[in-house]
């Protein structure tokens, strides 16, 4: 049986509240919070980036997997905020976590679904017997253009998964749906992404999330009611609720994974941190459905079953809630300084 | 060992000498010392920490000899802020060996050609690059680490520590070689900007240009000179480079060891010393000196300060010249200290201590990885 042998999360300490951002841009905070269903978002410290956060979440995942890091034969870090354009994030992570030198490695990019794509590749390598374990990481220090709607949600975080045998949750099936849909993009050299406003809804997020989830249900012959938890990518709190409704998933099943309210949209880590939140509480035998979404566009859907050994492995690393609760608030001025939005 | 005396001294004022180069500074101090001595040296030792970083100039032995018109064996000696005293000690050993009868030690540093930020980075070369500088620790930060622990462990207050810069500024008001000639109050110190908590701007020695020199001679030659001052001892000790690897952050083991050996060689004890020019690169360093040089028990140094014993008029004045607080041209400092002690023992210092007969200098390298302690006696 192949699946998630270990999982790990990481969220930086600083937070900025939606009303603080609204205050600076002269917008109505209640309006913003209601329409986006978000309270606050995480902000990385001046010395954090995709690489540093990946090391933290990766360390946690390896701790839960209880394996020698040398047994990991492949490492993929998915992000849209890799520190280098040329030089992989993964090599620093691999060196710090003692995974080098015998391994396959490359960085991934597919907007917010680069992390789930990494999981699928690890799955293939493990199932084919090419590697014993694979490590898939989704991390981002997302940037939102000052004054743009995305500034309220673009956050920072990381989630890592050791894929292999003796899983604490099996990955029973996966299904992907991919098209060329330019809903959100960033050209090389640009500081901030651009998006198609309302075009990011139906033709992008909803089309792909619904098609991928539908495809997975078909493939597995399962129905929404068969799952105990469902996690969708969360660009805000509203979209996943709407998708769940359209697909026929009960609202309560979404709540454990709906972490966007507390920490914002962590992009490549987003749906994966939702999964971590579920794994932090799920019981053996329970079934989880996860569908990510990456702009450009595509969705990866997964069906998972929680196994017995999750009870003993869960406590080997901090729960996501511990990171969520360890927080300090900053104001917009410090936010701008930390996120280097000031032109020096 | 042969008897050795200081027979000539010279120094420049410490300060921001925009118009003077490293050569100019060395020439001024060197010529003054040679004139005072009336003797030409057979060997020259040059103390300098980092002309390479500050001026792109190495090979200082040759440069200074050339500047002074001395075609004699000349060697640069480096031990961070102890470079001056190390050059002095090498000159002493050169004479003690019997190979030379007259030798010269000159210290010089030109620091103001670089902007402050880069000067601060260069000074950290005195610490451990790999273990300390690489994590963004500054030299002030190193002494701040010592001060913080000391204050925490021995219940030293910020106000008490501030008494040291207050004393040294007062001492230096009449010193023509000091970089500053104004007094400060405890309040001034506590209101000055934080550099590395808990140390503030007025706890720190300045960035200075300057030079100082001494000429030394063996007994036979020294007897021909006016006012020789005898070198009773000059001892050196080494400790771990990085603060983290010291036995205890609040004791400078190198100072303890060098001073023990100096007292032993001189056949003296702390009570026999009439004044000390100590290495107050930061206020806390002088406080540690009271203890590590044997004048007070560990943790009790502040008693000497509060009671006024270390002030002029007290039983053991420290830094009557004003110390490093009033000028710290790094490589020159060790020799500047010797200049002051010699003047005191000759009876012609700006802040003359009555009846001064025996004086001590203490020069530190880095945060105490090197220490040189020397003891001098007047001729009278």
């Amino acid at each position: 049986m192949i699946g998630i042998a270990g999982y790990g999360s990481y969220v930086p300490r600083y937070r900025i509240k939606a009303e603080e951002i609204a205050r600076v841009w002269g917008q109505d905070p209640e309006n913003i919070k209601n329409s986006l269903v978000i309270e606050e978002k995480s902000v990385p410290d001046i010395d954090e980036d995709t690489i540093t956060m990946s090391v933290e979440s990766g360390k946690n995942a390896i701790a839960r997997a209880k394996i020698d890091p040398q047994a990991i034969g492949a490492l993929f870090v998915g992000s849209e905020s890799h520190p280098y354009v040329v030089k992989p994030s993964g090599t620093v992570v691999a060196e710090a976590l003692n995974i080098t030198p015998e391994l396959m490695l490359a960085d991934f990019e597919f907007a917010c679904k680069a992390g789930t794509a990494a999981i699928q590749c690890c799955l293939g390598l493990v199932k084919s017997g090419m590697v014993e374990y694979g490590l898939a990481i989704g991390s981002d220090t997302a940037q939102g253009k000052p004054g743009d709607a995305l500034e309220y949600t673009a956050a920072a975080g990381s989630a890592a998964f050791v894929i292999g045998k003796n899983p604490l949750a099996t990955i029973d099936e996966t299904y992907s749906y991919t098209t060329d849909t330019p809903d959100f993009w960033r050209r090389e050299g640009e500081s901030y992404p651009r998006h198609g406003a309302r075009f990011t809804g139906e033709p992008a997020y909803f089309r792909h999330v619904i098609a991928a989830t539908g495809g997975l249900l078909n493939k597995t012959g399962m129905e929404p009611k068969d799952f105990d938890y469902v996690v969708f990518h969360m660009p805000n709190g509203k979209f996943p609720l709407a998708a769940a409704k359209k697909l026929g998933f009960a609202k309560e099943k979404l709540m454990q994974g709906l972490i966007v309210k507390a920490i914002g949209n962590t992009y490549s880590a987003c749906s994966l941190l939702g999964l971590c939140s579920v794994l932090d509480v799920a019981k053996p035998g329970q079934r989880i459905l996860l569908t990510s979404f990456g702009s450009g566009a595509g969705s990866d859907s997964f069906a998972l079953t929680v196994k017995e050994c999750i009870e003993e492995k869960r406590g080997l690393a901090p729960l996501l809630q511990a990171y969520v609760e360890k927080k300090s608030y900053i104001d917009y001025a410090n936010y701008v300084r930390l996120r280097k939005k000031l032109k020096m | 060992m042969r008897k050795i005396a200081v027979v000539g001294i010279g120094q420049t004022k410490s300060g921001e000498h925009w118009g003077s180069s490293l050569r100019d500074l060395a020439k001024e101090a060197g010529k003054a010392a040679l004139q005072d001595a009336g003797l030409n040296p057979q060997a020259l030792f040059v103390g300098n920490m980092s002309a390479g970083r500050f001026a792109g100039q190495e090979h200082l032995g040759a440069l200074v000899a050339d500047t002074l018109g001395l075609r004699v064996p000349s060697t640069r000696v480096e031990g961070a802020c102890a470079s001056g005293a190390l050059a002095f000690r090498k000159a002493c050993l050169a004479i003690a060996s019997g190979r030379y009868d007259v030798a010269m030690a000159l210290g010089v540093e030109k620091m103001t050609d670089l902007p402050t930020e880069e000067a601060v980075t260069s000074l950290m070369a005195a610490g451990d690059q790999e273990q300390e500088a690489s994590v963004g620790l500054t030299f002030s930060g190193v002494f701040a680490l010592i001060a913080n622990l000391y204050m925490n462990r021995y219940k030293l207050s910020r106000e008490e520590l501030a008494l040291i810069p207050v004393k040294n500024h007062k001492n230096g008001v009449n010193n023509p070689y000091a970089q500053f000639n104004f007094e400060v109050t405890v309040d001034d110190v506590l209101k000055s900007p934080l550099i590395a908590d808990p140390l503030r701007l007025l706890d720190c020695s300045p960035i200075s240009d300057g030079s100082a020199a001494v000429v030394l001679a063996s007994e036979a030659f020294a007897r021909q000179c006016k006012d020789p001052v005898w070198v009773l001892a000059s001892e050196q000790a080494t400790d771990a480079l990085a603060l983290q690897n010291r036995k205890d952050l609040c004791t400078l083991g190198s100072v303890v060891q060098a001073s023990k050996e100096a007292y032993a060689r001189a056949g003296l004890a702390p009570k026999d010393i009439d004044l000390v020019e100590a290495h107050d690169c930061f206020s806390i360093a002088e406080l540690l000196a009271y203890e590590d040089l044997g004048f007070s028990e560990k943790g009790w140094g502040k008693e000497l300060l509060i009671s006024g014993e270390v002030c002029i008029g007290g039983s053991i004045p420290f830094n009557p010249s004003g110390g490093l607080k009033l000028g710290h041209p790094v490589g020159a400092t060790g020799i500047k200290q010797i200049n002051e002690v010699v003047k005191q023992l000759r009876g012609c210092a700006a802040n003359q201590i009555r009846g001064a007969r025996t004086g001590m200098t203490q020069n530190l390298g880095g945060s105490g990885a090197t220490a040189v302690v020397s003891i001098f006696r007047g001729d009278a």
Binding site: D47, T52 | A133, G136, L145, N148
Partner: protein, 101 residues
Amino acid sequence: MPHRSSVPLKWRQSRRNYQKIHAGTGTILSFTIIRTAPAGFGSCAPYAVAVIAVGNENVTAQVVGPLEKVRIGAEVMPVFRKMFENGASGVIEYATKFEVL
């Protein structure tokens, strides 16, 4: 400073330094807060630097997080952070720092 951007020097140092991320918790022996930073560290100031007892040895490292939490005797754990950016075009230097528990 030429050596700060030396690629081989930084590579060599990082190979040793990265391992500290796997050290256990430590205790702060003393700390200071650097306000006048050396070249290149200016954007991080003010930051805390401490001598920390961890395992059988002492290390000198930055302590991240709110400055008020940094105290003598505080228990700290290793975290992986950027040390030095080297401008917009140099190799980024990473290192182990510590965070108060």
